[in-house]
């Protein structure tokens, strides 16, 4: 009974944790960027303040916005939240860890993206359309690349359950494998594209002709915008957690661990997440944004890397049981 309660509590902590750190992670990245550009920058907690402010403000809705426009933000947020909570962060052996199937995870994110792209078209402005069409074009390359990456890792670990994959790699000696290196490269490119980061999109821009994600959410305001913003912050945490969990899972509490290991895992996770946020900030100030149609070259590159990764994994893999 106690064990069940503890397991349930750990699962709850996991869900709250990703939600709680998400604005801070974006805040760290923004702060690092500002500092590198010799600006003071907003405090790290600015993200929380912004969300609270947005939630409290009134919603200004376009006259012809439909029910879909108003309900989509909550579903997008919830789908992203659940997806983010499915990725193991501090421990792999949580209560619902079996629900974290890699294919389902990619598809859940795909559902959130499709709903956002549709919501962007609801009001019927050209900006919504431009964002939506570019987002879906990017997704047609990024989603298969990501699927191939997670399938490559699933193949190495012999399971498509994400915690199982993490457990497998914790138990492995640290070696460089070609297929894993290619997979990581592809996943990083996909993560940049999916989170609308430089060089694919610029989260700080509001220059109409270059933006993708921001163009889609242009008509949103108030609490709806807060949901969308929170969802995109969660998505960033999700991709960072995914990269951490798949490629550097060390320190994560394994299936049979108790609260002590969870604390260790929690600290390790926080440290790795902070590192990711700083690296992202440094990366964003050191490269320039690409033209929209150059992005496809980058993503096609990611797709090719992912394909090579899975090909190597297939050809080198001993037979699964």
């Amino acid at each position: 009974m106690l064990a069940t309660l503890l397991a349930l509590a750990a699962q709850g902590i996991q869900m709250i944790l990703v939600l709680a750190v998400a604005p801070a992670v974006s805040g760290v990245t923004r702060k690092v960027k500002a500092q590198l550009m010799r600006r003071q920058g907003a405090p790290v907690i600015q993200g929380y303040r912004d969300l609270l402010k947005l939630v409290r403000k009134e919603v200004v809705l376009a006259t012809n916005a439909s029910w879909f426009f108003r309900s989509a933000p909550y579903v997008i947020f919830a789908a992203t939240w659940v997806a983010a909570a499915l990725v193991p962060t501090f421990a792999s052996g949580l209560m619902f860890n079996w629900a974290a199937d890699v294919v389902a995870l990619v598809a859940l994110l795909g559902a959130a993206r499709a709903l956002l792209a549709l919501a962007a078209m609801d009001v019927g402005t050209s900006f919504g359309g431009i964002g939506s069409s570019r987002e879906m074009m990017i997704a047609t390359l990024a989603e298969p690349a990501m699927l191939l990456v997670v399938l490559t890792l699933a193949l190495s670990a012999g399971t498509t359950r994400l915690p199982g994959v993490a457990d497998f790699f914790i138990g492995q000696p640290l070696t460089v494998r070609v297929s894993l290196a290619l997979a990581m490269l592809a996943l990083v490119i996909v993560a940049l594209a999916e989170n609308a980061r430089i060089p694919v999109d610029n989260p700080a821009t509001h220059l109409e002709l270059t933006m993708v994600h921001e163009a889609m959410v242009l008509e949103y305001s108030g609490r709806h915008l807060a949901m969308i913003e929170a969802a995109s912050q969660l998505k960033l945490v999700l991709y960072m957690s995914l990269i951490i969990c798949l490629f550097v899972p060390f320190g994560m509490a394994t299936a049979s661990a108790g609260p002590v290991e969870w604390f260790v895992g929690g600290f390790a996770y926080a440290a790795k997440l902070a590192t990711c946020a700083v690296v992202l900030g440094v990366w964003e100030v050191s490269v320039a944004k690409m033209r929209v149609f150059r992005v496809t070259d980058l993503l096609a590159g990611a797709l090719v890397f992912a394909f090579l990764a899975i090909l190597f994994a297939f050809l080198s893999k001993e037979v699964l049981p």
């Binding site: 079996w98 570019r134 074009m137 699927l147 609490r223 899975i310």
Partner: protein
């Protein structure tokens, strides 16, 4: 279900007779009274559904033989779980199409060219499934082609429909000829045309290869496999929408049934290389169909192209099942076959839903071109909701039914490293990549379709004046929508029902209920390896969405103010400033279209001071159509013009020709012997 033991085949026979009776009666009646066709068909289809379901659950094996048909063979019928499963798919499609038909306007929407052929088409499809000898199969197959052809050309005053009918007729003829050869090869020199006799002897490698090729051409052209797909996007949209739903959602599955029957049942134990055409054609079709769909401008044609894609996915599932079974990997074969069978059911559901929904749109606005639609979510909210669920399902997004079969298929691809054949080991990651690409493209295609048709602002006066469909039609959409959701949540239950069939076809079923952590977990291979638990994920998403919404509403001021769209400060009232389907497709066309269509954009920018408007023209060529269809057709035409002179010769010339022909034939015969 024991009460029905032995009674399934007679019941199905009664269903067939009832369909035929309705068709004959409808042929005698006048316009208004024709409405009786739909309640009658609905009733018959419900009975048929129940019978088929009971037959699947009971794994029946019932045969009957009638004393006419081929001499010594007779006319044989047989009902087993495979036929009953596909029968269920067919009759489920008929239930929804008939329900939709109930909503037709008695005075204006009925026609003696459509209603009598609807039950006849229904009967023909059911007949194919229970045929148990080559003659009965081909006869009912041809009946199915002809009745559907009559429905395609029902509105023959439109030149496009006539062209569609022409192409369909030619392709159907080619397909039937190919199937004729396939059954010839199966029957062997002894000519045993009963399926029972065919099963008892095994053709050698060469013959089995030829039979396989002929079967893929014959059944594949009906299913819409590339490059034999060209008739589909012409004919499916040309028919009335409820018939389009049947042709796209259901008739293609009858073709899939034919292939499964031939490959898994009649042709004997599978050999690994049989899987190659299925896997290769399937993967190319899955991506190719969508590439056509994302650049097309017609709602119903986009759906037809997407059918091609889904048939590709089913083909890949069948191919992988053949490959796994042939190499002794039965567990993986079970997963692949489950993916193929479930996708056949799922596709029939959401494709019927989308076609019927498009029928509602077509009726309400009179248009099916993307450039004349938009904003229908305001005037037709129920249809929009159902179409949205259908679009999400067909894009293989959780928690809807399309994702269940997609998930199973990816799981079976992951078993690929176990193949002893290097080619298959190399092919499976490639198939995985193609399927992943198809999944991404499908989402883009249906975001475009739903977004342009239902969201935004109306692009034409007709779209602005649209109205919601009659209650019967909304009920048909609602039924299918519910099935999309239920099929997505309880995919494991359906897979459990299919277990005996999977064991029979692939040698192994999915791990049953109890293998996973909850009763509704879908488990592939083992619980340690892969679990997809749709109800748990859906519950999590639903709970967190509701909780968040409540919490946010509690914190927030709840105030909502309506104002003109922001649009970066310059809102423009004209709906022409919205993104159109072609502008939405432009990035995709630029990325993917250059390869398949040779798409090129030409910008005509007038010099400064010139008053001409600037123009953007896009040129695209359908290479497949030009190379494989137009070129041979032109060659035949050219040849017949050349040979036309032979029609106007004198009698002496003809006599000389006959004499020469006689000599040549005699020489050939002499040298042959």
């Amino acid at each position: 279900m024991t009460g029905l033991a032995g009674a399934h085949l007679p019941l199905i026979a009664a269903v067939l007779a009832a369909y035929l009776g309705v068709a004959l009666l409808a042929a005698l009646l006048h316009r208004r009274t024709l409405i009786f066709v739909y309640p009658a068909c609905l009733l018959i289809a419900l009975v048929a559904c129940a019978t088929d379901l009971s037959a699947v659950l009971g794994s029946v094996n019932e045969s009957a033989r009638l004393p006419f048909g081929l001499p010594t063979v007779g006319l044989r019928f047989h009902l087993d779980a495979l036929a009953a499963y596909f029968g269920f798919i067919v009759n489920l499609g008929l239930v929804s199409a008939s329900l939709y038909g109930l909503g037709f306007d008695k005075r204006t929407e009925l026609s003696g060219r459509i209603e009598p052929f609807f039950p006849a088409f229904a009967m023909a499809m059911n007949l194919v499934l229970i045929a148990d000898d080559a003659f009965a199969f081909l006869f009912s197959w041809e009946l199915m082609s002809l009745t559907s052809w009559l429905l395609v050309v029902a509105r023959h005053d439109d030149a496009d429909n006539r062209k569609a009918g022409h192409v369909y007729l030619v392709m159907a003829a080619i397909g039937t000829v190919a199937l004729l050869f396939a059954f010839g090869g199966l029957a062997g020199p002894a000519g045993g045309y009963a399926f029972e006799v065919i099963r008892s002897h095994r053709p050698d490698a060469v013959v089995s290869g030829l039979v396989l090729a002929a079967a893929i051409v014959g059944a594949g052209s009906k299913a819409g496999i590339m490059p034999l797909h060209a008739w589909l996007p012409l004919a499916h949209p040309a028919a009335p929408s409820h018939v389009s739903a049947l042709m796209s959602g259901v008739m293609t599955k009858v073709a899939i049934y034919g292939l499964i029957r031939i490959v898994f049942d009649l042709l004997g134990p599978p050999v690994w290389w049989w899987s190659l055409p299925f896997i290769l054609l399937g993967a190319l079709t899955a991506v190719g169909g969508l590439l056509y769909a994302i650049v097309d401008q017609d709602l119903k044609r986009v759906l037809a192209y997407s059918t091609i894609e889904n048939i590709g996915i089913i083909f890949v599932g069948i191919g992988l099942a053949v490959a796994f079974k042939a190499t002794g990997l039965n567990a993986a074969a079970g997963v692949a076959m489950a993916a193929a069978l479930l996708h056949a059911l799922n596709h029939s559901i959401f494709k019927s839903l989308l076609f019927l929904g498009s029928g509602v749109v077509l009726h309400a606005t009179g248009r099916r071109d993307f450039d004349g639609l938009g904003g229908l979510i305001h005037t037709m909210p129920r249809t929009a909701f159902c179409w949205l669920i259908g679009a999400l399902s067909i894009s293989a997004l959780p928690p809807f039914n399309g994702f269940v079969s997609e998930w199973l298929l990816f799981q079976s691809v992951l078993a690929g490293p176990a193949f002893p054949e290097p080619i298959l080991r190399f092919l499976s990651p490639m198939v995985g990549a193609m399927l992943a690409l198809a999944a991404g493209l499908a989402a883009a295609c249906f975001v475009r379709a739903f977004g342009i048709v239902f969201l935004g602002r109306p692009r034409s006066p007709e779209a602005m004046a649209a109205h919601e469909a009659p209650v019967e039609q909304v009920a048909a959409l609602g039924l299918l929508t519910a099935l999309c959701v239920l099929g997505g949540l309880f995919g494991s239950t359906i897979a459990g029902v299919l277990s005996p069939l999977l064991v029979e076809l692939a040698g192994s079923a999915l791990p049953g209920q109890g293998a996973g952590p909850t009763p509704f977990s879908l488990v592939a291979f083992s619980a340690e390896r892969s679990i997809y638990d749709a109800p748990v994920i859906a519950l999590f998403v639903a709970l967190s969405a509701t909780m968040t919404a409540l919490l946010v509403h509690w914190v927030s001021a709840r105030r909502v103010r309506r104002a003109p769209a922001w649009d970066c400060g310059f809102p423009e009232p004209s709906p022409a400033t919205q993104y159109t389907a072609s502008s939405f497709g432009q990035p995709l066309r630029r990325v993917y279209g250059t390869l398949l269509f040779g798409a090129s954009e030409h910008i005509d920018m007038p010099a400064p001071g010139d008053n001409r408007p600037a123009r953007l023209t896009v040129a695209m060529t359908d290479y497949l159509w030009c190379g494989l269809y137009a070129a041979p057709a032109n060659a035949v035409l050219e040849l017949s013009v050349r040979l036309n002179v032979l029609q106007f010769l004198t009698i002496r010339r003809y006599l000389v020709f006959m004499f020469v022909a006689l000599i040549v034939l005699l020489l050939v015969t002499a040298s042959w012997i």
